[in-house]
């Protein structure tokens, strides 16, 4: 799948990530990490740093041209259902 990338054990929808800001991403996945006990030995600040790195890796995956070409349906493999 073009718009999927797994980092740190989390499979991300890169098309979704490309549509949100770094702050929104960090806030969302900081909450997610706490809820699921991910990166449990890290402080919140350390987690945020790691998440910013994730965001940096994920964001370029879905360029504007590519985003236009990939429909929301195919994002989750729905076109095959």
């Amino acid at each position: 799948m073009k718009n999927e990338q797994t980092i740190g054990g989390i499979s991300f929808n890169t098309e979704y990530v490309s549509g949100i800001t770094e702050d929104q991403f960090v806030e969302k996945y900081l909450k997610h990490a706490k809820k699921h006990n991910l990166m449990s030995r890290k402080t919140d600040a350390e987690k945020a740093t790691i998440l910013k790195e994730y965001y940096g890796q994920l964001k370029p995956k879905a360029q504007p041209e590519e985003k236009q070409a990939v429909s929301k349906q195919t994002t989750a493999g729905k076109g095959d259902k």
Binding site: I10, S11, V17, H32, K35, N37, D80, K81
Partner: protein, 326 residues
């Protein structure tokens, strides 16, 4: 071709010579349910293993074939042909025998039994082939929409998985499935068969049901999160533990608004828990215009059989679940 006021007596055909190589059905060891009306053309019979394999994992359930095998013995419950004796002593057959076969099996135990129960009462959805211990697949002549004769399955009036009976000190658990054929002519005058070089039951991969189940809270919370356990439908093997990152992938799942059918974006999927208790933590995009409003439902299922197979998950199909959104 029918002719007005003329009875077809089959005159002009029928001789009794036979060749040196003859077909004699071996022990029946399995059956194949194929979509109703299937007519295999000659080209599909050339590599019937490939044809049947493709059918058995077809993405579309209505086009899928299902193989029942491991039959261990036949309990022949067929009705004998009916005979009438005239007052002067001459005998006449008044109707043909009606085939009714019960086959006992053990493979797959209760899982197989429950799978078979899913087919009860659905006789009109399928035609049926039988196969023997010598890899002969037995069916009937079928004519396709263009009038070309091919190979097809027979009709059943009843497919009946009997209630199981407990094992005794001398016998294992008794699992039995019954087939009552609609028309004995299909397996006599119109019998067709193909001899193959594979065992349809053990050599053809089939689709397994997968069960998605909320781990604790059965609702999608206000952050768009829910935890889902993924198990094989029977036996409850934890597929998250078995397949790990192969299954923990947003591309393996499909979410839709249960009311509108609109696609809901799955933003991330994470493996959580440990060991046999591993599950997937899903997050949905609650800003998606198709995201259900509070109190409404979203439907979660897995991608198609072929998409999963391409990803290394062969061969699974999930039963969709509906999840309330907070």
């Amino acid at each position: 071709m029918a002719t007005l006021n003329a009875v077809f007596c089959g005159a002009g055909s029928g001789n009794m010579g036979i060749g040196d190589c003859n077909f004699d059905p071996d022990l029946l060891v399995g059956a194949i349910a194929i979509p109703r009306g299937t007519v295999y053309a000659a080209s599909q019979l050339v590599d019937f293993r490939a044809t049947l394999q493709a059918q058995a994992i077809n993405n579309s359930y209505s086009l899928r074939a299902h193989i029942f095998g491991g039959f261990l013995e036949l309990d022949d419950q067929s009705e004998e042909a009916q005979e009438w004796t005239s007052g002067y002593g001459r005998k006449y057959f008044t109707r043909d025998e009606v085939y009714s076969w019960g086959f006992r099996y053990l493979d797959g135990g209760m899982c197989q039994h429950k799978n078979m129960l899913n087919f009860k009462g659905r006789e009109r959805q399928f035609d049926w082939l039988f196969f023997d211990a010598s890899y002969n697949i037995i069916g009937t002549d079928r004519t396709d929409a263009n009038g070309i004769t091919g190979f097809g399955g027979v009709n059943l009036t009843q497919f009946y998985p009997y209630n199981w009976k407990p094992k005794t000190g001398s016998e294992p658990t008794r699992y039995m499935v019954g087939f009552t054929l609609a028309n004995a002519r299909q397996l006599n005058e119109n019998l067709s068969f193909i001899s193959v070089d594979f065992d349809p039951y053990s050599d053809i991969d089939q689709v397994q049901d997968v069960k998605l189940q909320p781990v604790s809270d059965p609702v999608v919370d206000a952050d768009g999160d829910i935890n889902i356990g993924i198990t094989s439908s029977c036996g409850a093997g934890n597929l998250v533990q078995i397949y790990g990152a192969t299954i923990a992938n947003v591309a393996r799942f499909v979410a839709t608004n249960s009311q509108t059918g609109g696609a809901v974006t799955i933003t991330s999927v994470t493996i959580a828990g440990s060991g046999e208790s591993q599950y997937l933590a899903f997050n949905f995009d609650d800003t998606d215009t198709d995201y259900p409003t509070a109190g409404q439902y979203l439907t979660l299922t897995m991608a198609s059989v072929s998409v999963l197979a391409t990803a290394g998950l062969s061969y699974f199909e999930a039963m969709p679940i509906q999840l309330e959104v907070l």
